[in-house]
């Protein structure tokens, strides 16, 4: 059997084992053992999941390397192992429920073991993936909650390459901004029961941290279909390209797929900010639908779910995901606040000042200029943030503030400057 088909089969079997765990709605323990012997016996891959008997064994023929000094696992085998490890790292994001205590002397959670029987002692390699260690999820949690938790773990363990969260990068939870969204097809729809879940995490890593990556302007998009990692679909790519990232202050530079790895590249992302994203499309109940039919519903669902996730982020973290438009307006807030504060403070009418302070909720005894200015500035900025992305409301209240005049007609919004054509009787005035 060739490596790639063995690999695919192996991954498929592991995936199937995960599905069994999930569907069983019971505690599971999953272990995958890749064994390689140095003698002429083919190496074995054993995948077993407790509660469901019969471990599956797969014979895997490996050309043994005849190196006298080092028991070197052949590169293809190693590559294969890495693929499996990578698969594991991803699938953990789904956080399929596992128990947290076990009687056996083995560790909790998923166990993935590569060992060499015989051969040079000490050449054993063992990799264990622990689920639920730093971020436990209750058994009754929904899929999207699990996905959220799973991605958080993924991020904090640097792509699940560590056993525990990286304390130097994530000393506390505040460095993560998490948003999630879920969309599903309407009952009447052809693809009823199709669910799309999106989780987006924005993390901030200090440049002094040892794990700081300079390539953080790229986001790897993890894509799952029916609880299994799989390459991203074209319709999903299209959907991601068509999302209005700009309303959230993000500018998508490019989107590329290479060998199963999907990367979004951003423009102007600060170097210490990193974005992670996971998409999961699944059916509530298994049903077979020919692939073509799903395309449009997929695309719309992804857009919807992604938008919900971005809105979630924006709502939870006021001021963090402002559109470029809002940021530009916010830049005028300090000057506007200073001007209005200046007006108030330069007045020699104490009644007027009292009234202004009272509206602002300030005590008139301890007024310093900066306090007034800051208070106004904060309020202006919070209004801008609150209204970012919402349609413009007409502000009738403001319009009639000075002159209560029924004769006021419909306002027409004036764009910047005056008509050049209005020569006579107008712009020649001075």
């Amino acid at each position: 059997m060739e490596v790639s088909s063995v690999q695919r089969l192996c991954l498929h079997l592991i995936s199937a084992a995960f599905q069994r765990c999930r569907v069983s709605e019971d505690l599971c323990r999953l272990s995958v053992v890749l064994k390689r012997s140095s003698d002429s016996d083919p190496s074995t891959v054993r995948i077993s999941s407790i509660l469901h008997c019969a471990p599956i064994e797969l014979a895997y023929d490996v050309r043994a390397h005849k190196h006298a000094d080092v028991a070197l696992i052949s590169s293809t085998f190693m590559k294969f192992c890495h693929e499996v490890i990578r698969f594991f790292q991803k699938i953990l994001v789904l956080k399929i429920p596992v128990s947290s205590t076990f009687d056996s002397d083995d560790v909790d959670g998923f166990c993935f073991e590569i060992s060499e029987e015989g051969g040079v002692p000490g050449s054993q390699y063992r990799k264990v993936f622990l689920a639920n260690e730093c971020n436990p999820v209750p058994f009754s949690a929904s899929n999207v909650e699990r996905l959220k938790s799973g991605l958080e773990d993924y991020v904090m363990k640097h792509g699940n390459s560590l056993h525990r969260k990286c304390d130097s990068c994530f000393p506390n939870w505040e460095h993560l901004k998490v948003g999630s969204g879920r969309a599903c097809c309407a009952e009447s729809h052809r693809s009823a029961g199709l669910q799309m879940e999106v989780v987006i995490i924005v993390s901030e890593i200090s440049e002094t941290s040892p794990c700081f990556r300079s390539s953080s302007a790229e986001t790897e998009v993890l894509y799952f279909k029916d609880f299994s990692p799989c390459p991203i679909t074209q319709s999903s790519l299209t959907a991601l390209t068509n999302i209005d990232w700009k309303s959230y202050g993000l500018v998508l530079k490019s989107i590329a797929v290479q060998g199963g790895y999907t990367a979004l590249e951003w423009e102007n992302l600060p170097p210490n900010i990193h974005i992670d994203m996971v998409l999961h499309c699944y059916h509530k109940q298994y049903q077979f639908t020919p692939p073509g039919q799903k395309t449009r519903s997929n695309r719309n669902l992804i857009k919807k779910a992604a938008k919900l996730a971005l809105e979630d982020l924006k709502e939870k973290h006021a001021g963090a995901f402002l559109s470029a438009h809002a940021l530009k307006i916010c830049s005028y807030a300090p000057d506007l606040a200073r001007t209005i504060a200046g007006l108030i403070l330069s007045s020699n009418d104490s009644e007027f000042q009292e009234e202004c302070f009272s509206i602002l909720g300030l005590q008139s005894q301890n007024i310093i200029n900066e306090i007034v200015e800051d208070s106004i500035q904060q309020k202006i900025i919070s209004v801008i943030q609150m209204n970012d992305g919402k349609p413009l409301r007409s502000k009738e209240a403001a319009s009639s503030f000075l002159f209560e005049d029924e004769r006021l007609q419909e306002p027409n919004i004036q764009e910047e400057e005056y008509d050049a054509g209005e020569l006579v009787f107008s712009s020649l005035d001075f």
Binding site: T339, S347, F352, A398, G421, V424, D429
Partner: protein, 386 residues
């Protein structure tokens, strides 16, 4: 009688009129304070927002014409249609902040009971907020925005626009507690018209020629003004000469209006170049303007067009006739489309455009340096003005 004619007999026009009030510093400050309080209230309300600023539209679409019923004075005024300046439009946010900045500066000026010129204001704003104010024109427009917001005159805001106007001739002026000035003895530059409207308001005006039939006010261009003043034309043809040295400023229009009210029997005649811009200057004295439409309507006067007109072109040598420039044609188009322009003016304008030529008053010197005086005299005697 004249007050009556101005006010209550223009029924519908009155209702549509949007006027800039002439207010005391205290009243203007009160209006600014109201603006601030309302802005803060809306900012801190349960449904907070950043208020837009409603500004009366200074465009021809919001301009109206008032034809006097008992008088022969018509004027242009602005009605109530408004546009808004908003912080929420990112390309217009700076303009929004500019309005507030000018309001702040005016508030301070008024609190200190001072006045500043538009130029001084420009420099102050340029130094305080260089990223918002880059030119005098921008400052002037923002001042007009504040007028359109607060509905108070520019002068009420404490801003004095320097005037370039001059007056000479049979006029005695006296500023309060000052010496009497004889405008016929001021030399060729005449008496400089101050930009300070309150000062102009307080001037005591006397002319010695009530009995003379042909005493006139002449609205002129500067070079002509100088020539006529040097030649003491106002002694030969009893008159008062005024020039704004170009497009008329409010102060010059104000003074002309005062002279008109003080000496209502004296006709006002205009001598301007034969081109659309010259006619535009005349029309501004006559009808007011849109740019300062909330104030200018007050100073409209019944100005008559003495020259140069179509019939005078024959007096001008061929070489002195110059082609009309594209800007002249633009002005002509704008004037033609104005409903306030009377038919005979439109005919003159058509002729200008049709011939494609323009001519300056100075071209008449071809006939000799004293020709101009004779030309004016002849026209006045024949009452050849429209």
């Amino acid at each position: 009688m004249e007050d009556l004619s101005k006010s209550s007999l223009n029924f519908f026009a009155d209702q549509q009129l949007c006027s800039a009030d002439i207010l005391s510093p205290l009243e203007v400050r009160a209006r600014i304070e109201v603006s601030v309080i309302n802005f803060l209230k809306i900012l801190n309300s349960p449904d907070p927002a950043i208020s837009d600023l409603p500004l009366i539209n200074r465009k021809s679409s919001n301009s109206r014409v008032s034809q006097g019923l008992l008088t022969d004075v018509s004027w242009i005024f602005l009605s109530h249609s408004f546009c808004t300046r908003s912080l929420t439009k990112s390309n217009a946010a700076k303009a929004f902040v500019r309005v507030w900045k000018v309001m702040e500066t005016c508030f301070q000026i008024l609190s200190q009971e001072k006045r500043v010129t538009q130029r001084e204001l420009f420099y102050k704003l340029l130094c305080d907020s260089p990223e918002y104010f880059t030119s005098q024109l921008q400052v002037n427009r923002t001042i007009q925005d504040v007028i359109a917001l607060l509905h108070c005159s520019r002068f009420s805001l404490g801003i004095v626009a320097s005037s370039r106007g001059l007056v000479a001739g049979r006029l005695m002026l006296q500023e309060p507690n000052q010496e009497v000035i004889d405008c016929s003895a001021c030399g060729s530059s005449g008496y400089s018209i101050s930009g300070d409207l309150s000062l102009l308001e307080k001037l005591d005006l006397k002319t010695d020629a009530r009995q003379h039939q042909h005493l006139t006010h002449g609205c002129l261009q500067h070079a002509i003004f100088q020539r006529l003043t040097e030649d003491f034309v106002f002694n030969q043809i009893p008159s008062i000469l005024i020039t704004a040295k170009g497009y008329p400023d409010i102060a010059t229009r104000f003074l002309l209006h005062r002279l008109n009210r003080a000496f209502p029997d004296l006709p006002i005649l205009a001598l301007v170049d034969w081109n659309p811009a010259g006619l535009a200057i005349l029309c501004t004295f006559k009808f007011g303007s849109i740019g300062m439409g909330m104030e200018a309507y007050r100073y409209a006067c019944n100005v008559k067009w003495l020259g140069l007109r179509g019939d005078d072109v024959q007096l001008i040598p061929e070489q002195s006739l110059l082609p009309l420039k594209p800007r002249d044609l633009q002005i002509a188009r704008s004037l033609m489309s104005s409903e306030i322009l009377q038919e005979n003016y439109k005919e003159e304008l058509s002729l200008m455009v049709h011939n494609g030529q323009r001519a300056e008053v100075e071209a008449l010197y071809f006939h000799g340096y004293d020709y101009l005086g004779k030309y004016i005299a002849k026209k006045i005697v024949q009452a050849d003005y429209i």
